[in-house]
Symmetry: C2
Subunit: 188 residues, 2 copies
């Protein structure tokens, strides 16, 4: 039973910087006393937000569709993006929501901060729900961003999560946190 034992870092060297992340090669000593070489990506923190519109006694979610260069096609997702330097995750979530959809969040609730991939990523994904939305006008996108906004009933969105075009695993994780929050009675 040594799976919980922390490895001891011997050295770490950043070997490349690609803008969206840098690559560090780390030498670490394990429970067996031997050294291993591990590649770790250092990226900014990320934030994602499930935006809830209350309407007609039901709930609807604001979703975005955008082309994804890794996968080579569009995904439907919750709004989100990179936490800028000096920004806190909730501010980033609210900013990304506003930029991508034009909705301003009256209130944000933090739902959890999983690791996107603890095997080789050092950052966190911060998951929020956004409530008391107010339509604040236009999108404000970066040069290479094209984001289609849609509003769908909550039950339809949750039934779609997991299958294409809702096959972004981190969005599925966000949906897990959102559903858990619903089942706990939507605590503030």
């Amino acid at each position: 039973m040594s799976g919980h034992i922390a490895w001891k870092d011997v050295s770490a060297k950043t070997v490349a910087d690609y803008g969206i992340f840098s690559v560090t090669e780390r030498l670490s000593i394990g429970p067996h006393g031997r050294e291993g070489r591990f590649v770790v990506l250092d990226a900014p923190e990320w934030a994602v937000v499930v935006p809830v519109l209350e309407r007609g006694g039901g709930r609807a979610l604001v979703t975005v569709r955008q082309y994804r260069h890794g996968l080579g096609r569009a995904c439907v997702e919750f709004p989100g993006g990179v936490v800028e330097r000096g920004e806190d995750p909730a501010t980033a979530a609210a900013r990304e929501l506003l930029e991508e959809t034009g909705y301003r969040a009256g209130r944000l609730v933090a739902l959890g901060s999983p690791s996107p991939n603890p095997a080789f990523m050092a950052n966190r994904l911060h998951v929020f729900v956004a409530l008391d939305l107010e339509s604040a006008g236009q999108q404000s996108l970066d040069e290479h961003e094209f984001v289609d906004v849609d509003v769908q009933p909550e039950d339809r969105v949750l039934a779609a999560v997991g299958d294409p075009p809702w096959d972004h695993a981190l969005m599925t994780a966000a949906a897990w946190y959102y559903r858990r929050w619903l089942e706990k009675g939507r605590p503030a």
Copy 2:
């Protein structure tokens, strides 16, 4: 509404190979007719498996705990790993289950194949449930692998998913697929 439009790849160049993934720089032309530079990670496919033990009228899940070098601490997870070259994902899932836990899967059901991160990863995560498990003896681990195996009631595992040490986002996604499969009546 141009979020769904595919970008046209102009060129792609592999700029580094770190073993667990390589890095490609891609030039692509967007809906605006302009060129952007995008960094994409090419990694092998991954497989993860939710192993179900039926016992005493209830279900229990086999879990693993291991140190994760990106996050810098241990996570509790479902078994899984890399799909080897020439291997199909189901075979990889069964092999990883056997190697990490000593359980042999009598039957595997494919639950979905999301993208771990479509923004910059080109591979897929293949999610399975493993049924009719048979204890086949010992773990068979790589040199730098230390994996603690545990068996916990299903409801306890699902209640824990999302919070540390169950904060691996891709495991949360796997739990989403598993729960969806349960709610559909566990189709074969």
